[in-house]
């Protein structure tokens, strides 16, 4: 009886909230209502004052760059927490558990394709302000390259220290650029560099600098996550 009541209540609440969402009409061209919605300002100002063709990038890195700094911190924290949960004393870290080793097709293919993956990742985040993509996407692509190497070679290892240095330096760059904006432009993350010519590589002021830092940071962090989890020696598979 009690359970029935709960189900009925949940169904009513669920129907009500779901119908709200259907009403909004996500996906239709003008589902955002309201007087002077900020989206119009974002789209106009992206081209006018930032000289950047990619509106998504300008929103993520400039208009709402503070949120992105927060999200980068969330990722950093997630990695820290994962390391804390899976922390073992050094001598307890065992060999990676491998069920069967990769075939020669995979190993030689991985060697061939690894530089290309890194290059693609770097391209995606360096051109983040010009074409679709950006720091987060590029970083993930690079991390998949390391995942491929770790899966194909049992002996392949990544230096935790190097990852942590890259991660820290990239984070410092992001926060440091923000503080420079506070000194030069009067507000945190202010775009204090010249915005240059639209569609050229060196344009958009601080946007590409921040996106490159984010790219390095995400790549180092996700590689670290993969490496930590792969080397986790659970009690079950000894």
């Amino acid at each position: 009886m009690k359970k029935l009541l709960v189900i009925v209540l949940l169904a009513v609440l669920g129907f009500y909230t779901a119908s709200t969402f259907f009403d909004i009409g996500f996906g239709s061209p003008h589902f955002v209502k309201g007087i002077d919605p900020v989206k119009d300002i974002y789209i106009n100002q992206t081209v006018k004052s930032l000289n950047v063709p990619n509106a998504v990038t300008s929103i993520v890195v400039n208009f709402r760059g503070f949120d992105t700094l927060g999200e980068v911190t969330v990722l950093f924290l997630a990695v820290t927490v994962l390391g804390s949960v899976l922390y073992k004393k050094r001598h307890e870290v065992g060999e990676r558990s491998v069920l069967f080793s990769a075939s020669s097709v995979v190993t030689s293919g991985a060697k061939l394709i690894f530089p290309a993956i890194i290059l693609l990742g770097a391209y995606v985040f360096i051109h983040g302000h010009l074409s679709p993509g950006g720091g987060f996407q590029g970083g993930v692509i690079i991390a998949t390259g390391f995942l491929l190497m770790l899966l194909s070679y049992e002996s392949y290892s990544v230096s935790h220290k190097a990852l942590s240095i890259v991660e820290s330096l990239a984070g410092i760059t992001f926060a440091g650029v923000g503080l420079l904006g506070l000194l030069h432009g009067g507000s945190f993350l202010h775009n204090f560099l010249p915005t240059g010519v639209m569609n050229s590589l060196f344009s958009g002021g601080i946007i590409p600098i921040i996106y490159i830092a984010v790219g390095f940071k995400v790549a180092a962090e996700l590689t670290g996550v993969i490496y930590t989890v792969l080397n986790e020696k659970g009690e079950g598979n000894e």
């Binding site: 927060g70 990239a170 904006g181 432009g185 507000s187 993350l189």
Partner: protein
């Protein structure tokens, strides 16, 4: 201008990224740097608060885009008061755990202090931000650090507690995002002041739906019944000082978010009554649960939930006196509950189960710690002449002003319940025989200093309540004046 509110976020984040590098050069720096950062921010926030009280709120624009286009931070008497309180407690928690973690290896120590600093930064960010999506980001930062700190000790049942917290916490994040989505789709803005001015354009159906999502999401973080299932486990399994940080910092930020949403964003008349109802339910259920607890920290956790219920009731009056009373309880609860967690963890230091029975007879071996615990217990019940008395009195007078007699009776009845379960513990500490296998543990010097500071504040506020009431009055009139908030934010240069 002495400094900018954005430093409250930028400096700790910069330090968090810097600490792993510094740790490679000098290991001790991972313990010292967070303390220096917190101390600097505390000084900054005190001086900013003085500035704000004299000249009006500071609106900090980020990335050079004025509201509603960009993100902004609001350092007003209300948010500034809470930020100062959080940073003060954060510094004390750091000082308390500084030596406590000395026997721990380098890597766990690095992670502990990083997570602690981010927990405080996230809460401060939640309080300062004037943008609703930015608040979501800071809630994420706070809750992820909280999950990590909950699961810090591997020898306890911490993984289970942390997992419970993660499940509920992710639900909270999802719901919050849905609420923000509804608001954005209807009003086309994310700035809180801008939303508040445009709220009347929203259809009532959408309003209620997004308010439901907001209350559910923030209620999980603010320990509102029935969404607080994670809290007793998390408090009990996390390290002692972290329990104090949860009660004093994280929950305060979440309550602030609830209040900001209801007072500033939404203008639904029924919302205040709703606050009173959920406040009463939370308080009654938590206090009756606290009396049944066998474990010390779980009891403190339930008592903490109960106090939050009282805060919600006081906010629900919707009057200036009500807000003043609520802020006063928040202040007292932060100070007193931290003292109880700090001294309680030393009383039950060598007990694995942390049962209330294990603290029996500790007064003979740890006289000062026991005295401070008793002081905290008396203060939180609301016995005169300690700090808690004035805040409870403020609630009762605020209720009397709104002629809510039933609430006065209820608060007094619940106080009797509190009296019973706190005196039970104090009685055990002073008049029972010590359990034979319980070795008393002497507090470290820093821990003792921290506890004495907190005890001194309880006595100071108890004898001279005027030392804080002026500030609290200014902070509460700041929250009441919604039109001024909107005008300040939207006219920022």
């Amino acid at each position: 201008m002495v400094g900018s509110p954005v430093l409250f976020i930028a400096i700790p984040l910069l330090a968090a990224f810097l600490i792993p590098l510094l740790g490679m050069i000098w290991k001790e720096s991972v313990r010292i740097v967070p303390g220096l950062v917190l101390a600097y921010l505390l000084v900054l926030s005190v001086s900013l608060l003085q500035h704000v009280l004299a000249f009006g709120p500071i609106i900090e624009i980020i990335a050079g885009w004025k509201p509603p286009i960009g993100i902004n931070l609001v350092f007003s008497p209300f948010s500034g008061f809470l930020v100062t309180l959080m940073l003060f407690l954060g510094l004390l928690v750091w000082a308390y755990s500084y030596r406590f973690k000395r026997n721990v290896e380098y890597e766990p120590a690095l992670k502990y202090f990083l997570m602690l600093m981010m927990l405080i930064t996230g809460s401060v960010g939640m309080t300062l931000t004037g943008d609703i999506f930015n608040m979501f980001v800071f809630i994420e930062i706070t809750s992820i650090s909280a999950y990590g700190l909950t699961s810090y000790y591997k020898e306890r049942n911490s993984a289970e507690a942390s997992f419970k917290y993660i499940l509920l916490g992710s639900l909270a994040s999802t719901f919050l995002l849905l609420a923000i989505m509804i608001i954005y789709s209807q009003l086309g803005t994310l700035n809180m002041a801008d939303i508040a001015t445009k709220m009347h354009l929203m259809k009532p159906g959408y309003k209620v739906a997004s308010l439901i999502f907001f209350i559910t999401a923030l209620g999980i973080e603010a320990e509102i019944f029935p969404l607080n299932g994670w809290a007793p486990d998390a408090y009990a399994e996390a390290p002692g000082p972290v329990g104090a940080a949860f009660a004093g910092i994280v929950v305060k930020a979440a309550v602030y978010a609830v209040i900001r949403v209801i007072y500033t964003l939404f203008d639904l008349p029924g919302a205040y009554q709703f606050l009173i109802v959920i406040g009463i339910i939370t308080m009654v259920i938590a206090e009756t649960a606290a009396i049944r607890q066998e474990k010390l920290k779980r009891m403190l956790a339930y008592s903490s939930i109960g106090q939050m219920g009282l805060v919600l009731i006081a906010f629900g009056f919707g009057t200036k006196e009500g807000i003043y009373a609520a802020l006063f309880i928040m202040f007292n609860h932060a100070i007193i509950k931290s003292l109880l967690f700090f001294s309680g963890s030393y009383l039950a230091y060598n007990s694995t189960e942390k049962n209330i029975a294990d603290v029996s007879g500790m007064a003979k071996h740890l006289p000062l710690t026991s005295l401070l615990f008793a002081l905290g217990a008396f203060a939180i019940i609301g016995l005169p002449p300690f700090a808690g008395f004035w805040s409870k009195l403020a609630v009762l007078t605020a209720a009397a002003d709104s002629s809510l007699w039933l609430i006065i009776a209820l608060v007094l009845a619940v106080s009797v319940v509190e009296l019973v379960y706190y005196l039970r513990v104090v009685n055990r500490v002073y008049f029972f025989k010590k359990e034979e296998d319980m070795e008393p543990q002497k507090p470290t010097v820093n821990a003792m200093i921290v506890m004495l500071i907190l005890g001194a504040i309880i006595l100071l506020v108890g004898f001279y309540p005027d030392s804080v009431t002026g500030l609290l009055h200014k902070a509460s009139s700041d929250l009441m004046d919604k039109s001024q908030y909107i005008q300040h934010v939207l006219s920022a240069r």
